[in-house]
Amino acid sequence: AQSVAQPEDQVNVAEGNPLTVKCTYSVSGNPYLFWYVQYPNRGLQFLLKYITGDNLVKGSYGFEAEFNKSQTSFHLKKPSALVSDSALYFCAVRDPGSNDYKLSFGAGTTVTVRA
């Protein structure tokens, strides 16, 4: 079975400071990992993904994430947060080695960036 955990329900940072949203995963094989962002009353927007290759992946809106196989983590980062980054962030995983087509999502982390 595949799953992700987002250990922090909320992350609060000041504008201009670094932002990190944590995610750990559990799969039987090599994972496909994704980050999505959700604004109020909207669907999820894709930010970035890790499939294979370089452990540091870059995505939309200045976000990046680092895949760490030994720690089974895929933390989302942004060097300098903006107030407009305030939203709900979801980590998701898929195990491509199984016959499992679904993405499994974490419970989400609410990010608040204060001016």
Binding site: N41, G43, L44, F90, P96, Y101, K102, F105
Partner: protein, 114 residues
């Protein structure tokens, strides 16, 4: 290029009623997945349709059923509605040939069961 569109945006139903939600995938996508997002939770996988067949199903009762049409659009049907079915229902489309291709989500249908 239209993204994923869902209708209606909001819906209020009474316990025991039936509801149908609709989804048009992003242009060029052939696979549709449905998710239920309860308040304060992450999306939970209901099922996925590909080539007009249910390819995979999550842990949801048979009251939840779906359909995919030849133009790849999809419907989610829920029978005998319960109060606990109140949630945001999200449709997502993707390409079957790209296992690493991300899901593209619609804005969802907010279902309230009273």
């Amino acid at each position: 290029d239209a993204g994923v569109t869902q209708s209606p945006t909001h819906l209020i139903k009474t316990r025991g009623q039936q509801v149908t939600l609709r989804c048009s995938p992003k242009s060029g996508h052939d696979t549709v997945s449905w998710y239920q997002q309860a308040l304060g939770q992450g999306p939970q996988f209901i099922f996925q349709y590909y080539e007009e067949e249910e390819r995979q199903r999550g842990n949801f009762p048979d009251r939840f059923s779906g359909h995919q049409y030849p133009n790849y659009s999809s419907e989610l049907n829920v029978n005998a509605l319960l109060l606990g079915d109140s949630a945001l229902y999200l449709c997502a489309s993707s390409l079957a040939g790209g296992p690493g291709s991300p899901l593209h989500f619609g804005n969802g249908t907010r279902l309230t069961v009273t």
